[in-house]
């Protein structure tokens, strides 16, 4: 879409927002009167897709209108995220945005940022763990941290592609310990599963993916989880300590997913969505589903989600600059 037409669209959307604000109570009561499109920036079959589909199917019942989940893939998530941001701000186009929105603009991949949206609700967050192979000599995080300090650059870590969320988690953790990113070089991989396999094959030493992603290998006795980078333990893995408990470093990060609408969504409609999404977030169907997939349920309303993203965005900026991944302005 060209700059000109996008501006027209924005102006139109803003005008529409103004008009609907004048007649807001009526609109909010009757909303929605036609099907809603829920855009997913990632492919069918993945974790974000599954989460969006379960949210969509419960939302459909709550609203009494069909909710169509549409996968808009391509451009490493940029295409789908911009489809959500540039949609009409009438409540009929919403989408599931993911942690990448706080990362991509630092790399100069897009102009889109967390404030390009009307945040509606945060639905999920998964903190990364620190996993080592079962045959590794490190049985707790302290001995691993000491080994990193003693021999910077010797141990290698993986878990996702270069500049992915788990890479930045590692950089952030090293930074919190006062170490440069080069203390543990990053080996890019096509996701957490191949990285865990390479961990078992002895190709790498550390994998910083989420603990549920490592669960199968942990259960098979091939890997050990030494700590999670969160402020509290995961109830499903009560034996895995937090970073603070293990080595006294206070650092937490996570991959998250939330629902957002194009910017300038009329407040009454946003409130209506947030009410329904809160109900979904607390429903047994949703929590059961997330528990079955090993995903963490998290809640924040529109304002809370905006604050959460702003904080995350700033932290990502620091980590990405440290790792040399941010585009020099």
């Amino acid at each position: 879409m060209t700059e000109l037409s996008r501006r027209h669209l924005m102006a139109g959307a803003a005008g529409l927002g103004l008009a609907s604000q004048l007649a807001s109570p009526a609109i909010a009561q009757t909303f929605p009167v036609r099907p809603i499109t829920l855009v997913v920036p990632w492919g069918a079959g993945g974790g974000t897709d599954a989460t969006a589909r379960i949210v969509g199917s419960i939302m459909e019942r709550e609203f009494g209108q069909p909710v169509n989940v549409v996968n808009r893939t391509g451009g490493s998530g940029v295409v789908g995220h911009s489809a959500i941001a540039t949609g009409a701000a009438d409540g009929y186009t919403i989408g599931m945005i993911t942690v990448e929105i706080t990362m991509m603009h630092w790399q100069g991949l897009t102009q889109l940022k967390h404030d390009s949206y009307t945040p509606l609700a945060l639905m999920n967050e998964d903190p990364p763990g620190v996993q080592v192979s079962a045959s590794s000599p490190y049985t707790d995080l302290k001995s691993l941290a000491d080994a990193i300090r003693a021999n910077p650059g010797r141990l290698k870590a993986s878990g996702t592609g270069q500049g992915g969320i788990w890479h930045l988690a590692l950089v952030g953790w090293l930074g919190a310990m006062g170490l440069p990113p080069s203390a543990v070089p990053w080996v890019p991989s096509n996701g957490a599963a191949p990285a865990m396999q390479d961990l078992a094959a002895g190709g790498i030493d550390i994998v910083t993916c989420s603990v549920p992603e490592a669960k199968a290998m942990l259960d098979a006795g091939r890997a050990r989880s030494l700590a999670i980078m969160a402020s509290a333990r995961n109830p499903q893995f009560p034996n895995v300590p937090t970073l603070k408990e293990a080595i006294g470093v206070d650092y937490s990060v996570g991959a998250w997913r939330g629902i957002a609408a194009p910017k300038n969504l009329p407040a009454p409609i946003a409130e209506r969505f947030t009410t329904v999404l809160k109900k979904i977030n607390e429903s047994k169907e949703f929590t059961d589903f997330m528990a079955a997939r090993g995903f963490g349920v998290k809640w924040a309303d529109g304002a809370g989600f905006a604050k959460f993203m702003a904080e995350g965005d700033a932290a990502m900026g620091v980590a990405m600059k440290a790792a040399g991944l941010a585009r020099q302005a």
Partner: protein, 499 residues
């Protein structure tokens, strides 16, 4: 034994049986449409599985993916347009058989040996699962690099044209694989500031363009070939038993290669078909017949891709590591349904595991009757006039590629590759080698770069690790072999001249 009976009871539940039947039909239809791959068929099933019981959910995925891999052969055979990437390796061969007036034999081979391959793959899953998984787990990026490199070398073997043109086409494929940000450095390459190019060129639209659209363009530019003799199709399975006895070695090799490639994480049915077809040609007594409608390669590759499908489940079920893109999606469904992958699945949920095995067997057996019906229906295509079929194919290509990501850019990709494919074909460059380059390019690069990062830039581990050393020896041996043969042939002549 009681768990075994329990497993049968689980499978014979009405909802499971209905799920198997419906997903079989669904898989056959989706697989036969160009551009809609077996992976796509599986991905589209996921929302449906939300509403099914755990066994029924897994049954739909197993059955639909097996059917789709087979039925991808049908349009390849009748129209020279592979339905799924796994059929691309032997499309030319199957189409040549159709032009020779043996479409029922070609389709029969695809069906019969697909089903047999599936059954053998399942047996390997049952008998050797823990052993195979152990083997696959010892593979690190060093080994995968050699494996992907071997895959690339298939380009010169499978192509009928000159090896130089095949290598040129493959290198073009490698260049296309460079586009986008999905590379080890995470740096955008050749994107020209376009958001759409950031994600790179996807294999499916490129494949559809190269084969389907290029074929339509070719059909428009040449006079209509003489209509194939108007006759009713003979028996589809006739002669298959004879072929089974005539080519036992090819079939066994196809199954074994398929099983091994399937077990390795990340290498799926496409790679199995390529490697098997190349092997069949390499070891054949009559390699010159390849590409002219010869059943040998078809048997080996057709068996191989279905065998890999079943064995791809081994690492998925034991370690939660996907063997290919289909099982990557299936793992999500397994988690959702409480059948969490891991060794405990084999001990605590043994009856569910047996049920899975039974579904695999059932799926491959009902493939034969349902496949025959599908082939009979599909043969109407042969009788239709070309001006009726071609527009429908273009439409299907556009819709199919759009459906994979709801992105118009994919449709443009299809069109662009249609032109590229047409020009290449017209000048004797094999498009199959181009597709191979696109498929394998990112794998080769990824594994090479990550290996170097791990070894701090040293090339030594590529040869020092035991499995890696064996693979390296095979790869380099295959590369040097033609040169050695050439030198050997040259030597006596030189001596004769000296005397």
């Amino acid at each position: 034994m009681s768990t075994f009976i329990e497993a049968w009871q689980m499978v014979l539940a009405p909802d499971v049986l209905i799920a198997i039947l419906l997903s079989a039909i669904y898989g056959l239809v989706v697989g036969s449409l160009p551009g809609l791959s077996a992976t796509m068929a599986t991905a589209l099933l996921v929302p449906v599985t939300f509403y099914l019981s755990p066994i029924a959910a897994i049954a739909t995925i197993i059955t639909a993916s097996a059917m789709a891999i087979f039925s991808g052969d049908i349009p390849g055979c009748l129209l020279r347009i592979p339905g799924t990437p796994a059929s691309a390796a032997y499309t030319d061969e199957a189409y040549a058989m159709t032009r020779k007036g043996q479409p029922e034999l070609a389709l029969g081979i695809c069906l019969w040996f697909s089903a047999l391959g599936g059954v053998f793959g399942t047996l390997s899953l049952i008998i050797m699962a823990p052993l195979l998984a152990e083997f696959a787990l010892s593979f690190s990026t060093f080994e995968y690099f050699w494996l992907a490199f071997l895959g690339l070398m298939c380009a010169t073997v499978v192509a009928r044209s000159s090896p130089v043109k095949a290598i040129a086409a493959m290198l073009l494929g490698l260049l296309i694989a460079c586009v986008g940000i999905e590379n080890p450095a995470g740096t955008p390459r050749f994107t020209f500031g376009s958001t759409d190019l950031l994600g790179g060129i996807e294999v499916i639209p490129a494949l559809v363009g190269c084969f389907a659209v290029a074929e339509v363009m070719r059909a428009m530019s040449v006079p209509e070939p003489p209509q194939l003799e108007r006759r009713k199709f003979g028996s589809i399975l006739a002669g298959q038993w004879k072929l089974t006895k005539e080519y036992p070695k090819q079939q066994a090799r196809g199954n074994i290669v398929g099983i091994i490639i399937g077990v390795l994480p990340g290498a799926g049915a496409d790679m199995a078909a390529w490697v098997s077809y190349a092997m069949a040609k390499r070891f054949s007594k009559t390699p010159e017949k390849f590409g002219t409608g010869h059943p040998e390669g078809l048997i080996e590759a057709g068996a191989s891709n279905n065998a890999s499908l079943a064995s791809g489940w081994v690492p998925s079920l034991l370690f939660g590591i996907p063997g290919d893109t289909i099982t990557a999606i299936a793992i999500g469904v397994l988690y959702m349904k409480g059948l969490n992958p891991g060794p405990t699945l084999f001990t605590e949920k043994a009856s569910s595991m047996y049920a899975l095995y039974i579904i695999f067997m059932l799926g491959n057996i009902i493939m034969i009757p349902l496949g025959i019906i599908m082939i009979r229906l599909a043969t109407f295509i042969l009788r239709a006039k070309r001006y009726m079929i071609m527009p429908v194919i273009v439409l299907l290509c556009a819709v199919g590629s759009f459906a994979t990501g709801n992105n118009l850019f994919l449709v443009i990709t299809v069109a662009a590759f249609g032109v590229v494919g047409y020009l290449m074909e017209k000048n004797g460059f094999p498009v199959a080698a181009l597709v191979l380059g696109i498929v394998m390019g990112s794998m080769v690069e990824q594994h090479f770069i990550t290996s170097l990062i791990k070894s701090d830039g040293s090339l030594l581990p590529f040869f020092a690790r035991p499995v890696s050393a064996v693979l390296a020896a095979i790869t380099i041996g295959l590369m040097v072999w033609p040169l050695a043969v050439w030198l050997y042939k040259k030597r006596p002549q030189g001596r004769a001249a000296a005397i």
